[in-house]
């Protein structure tokens, strides 16, 4: 189909065109109450629109709700949260405190010789001195 086919205005027979127009007008005719009610509907929508929240806020709220739902749905349901047993922590804490306390108190009398042995093992010069003392004591 060439452009020249459309050179003339495409028209329907005048009688048919008029009949179609008249038919459409007739079908859309409504009583005055209809148009009045329609205008009231438009006013109501305009009023509702002006009281509605801004579009961006509504979108943000909807997005937040969706994310919340997604987190709820994807979070593992069966596994309970890991809770540290409080009693065990307390016992360990108490033991630690007891050890620190004991160290602060110094060496018990019964363990004095052992302490000397340990000290002499770590310091040869001191051990020599102790040995000499012991020998002197023996003599």
């Amino acid at each position: 189909m060439s452009v020249h086919d459309f050179d003339n205005m495409p028209e329907l027979p005048g009688e048919l065109a008029a009949a179609l127009r008249a038919d459409a007008v007739e079908r859309s005719e409504r009583p005055d109450e209809f148009w009045s009610r329609q205008r009231s509907g438009i006013r109501a929508r305009m009023h509702g629109q002006s009281h509605r929240r801004p579009h961006g806020i509504r979108l943000a709220l909807a997005g937040a709700a969706l994310i919340f739902l997604a987190v709820l749905l994807t979070a593992p349901a069966g596994r309970p949260p890991q809770v540290v047993p409080q009693a065990k922590v307390d016992a360990d804490q108490q033991l630690l405190l007891a050890v620190e306390h004991a160290l602060a108190m110094g060496t018990p009398e019964a363990l004095e010789p052992l302490t000397l042995l340990v000290e002499s093992g770590s310091n040869p010069h001191d051990s020599e001195t102790i040995s000499n003392k012991e020998r002197r004591n023996e003599n």
Binding site: V3, D5, L16, R21, R27, S28, W35, Q38
Partner: protein, 191 residues
Amino acid sequence: MSLSLPALASQTDEWPTALAAADFEQIVRRYQRKIYRVMLVMLKSPEDADNLTQECFLRAYTSMHRFRGECSVQTWLLRIAVNLARDHVRNRRAGFWKRLLRLEDDGVVKEEREPSSGGASPEHGLLAREQLNAVWRVVDQLSARQKEVFVLRFVEEMELKEIADVLNLRTGTVKAQLFRAVTRVREQVRR
């Protein structure tokens, strides 16, 4: 200074820059019949036509700050109306349930389109009602674009340039679409 919309709209057919709700009501009064008529022919459902006519004016009201006056108020409103009708038809076809509703709507329309007993215009006397209904059926079977062009041309008696403005098409395209639509309708009339 108070704007007299009826006078303004009839004389200049231009949208004022600052439009009060009361003034907008005058525009609604002036164009609501035309918009409803176009909707009814396009959608064939009185309820949908009423609903979308209201929606059309709401959209016009909420977006009138974007109206720059490049076209007439009528063109602006018809553009919104045609887009709404097109979206509605598209959505109506989208889902199963919506298709079911459409069947119900068609039933309503068939009742609506039964010949009226009285008040026939002289034009109606010239054409048999059956033939007119057959033409409408052909119009309903046209593509969405052809139907829009046909309705604006023969129901609203608009010029090709105006139709092109409403549909955002070139005048040549409108002419081509109209040519195809008229050809199909003529074939029906010849039968």
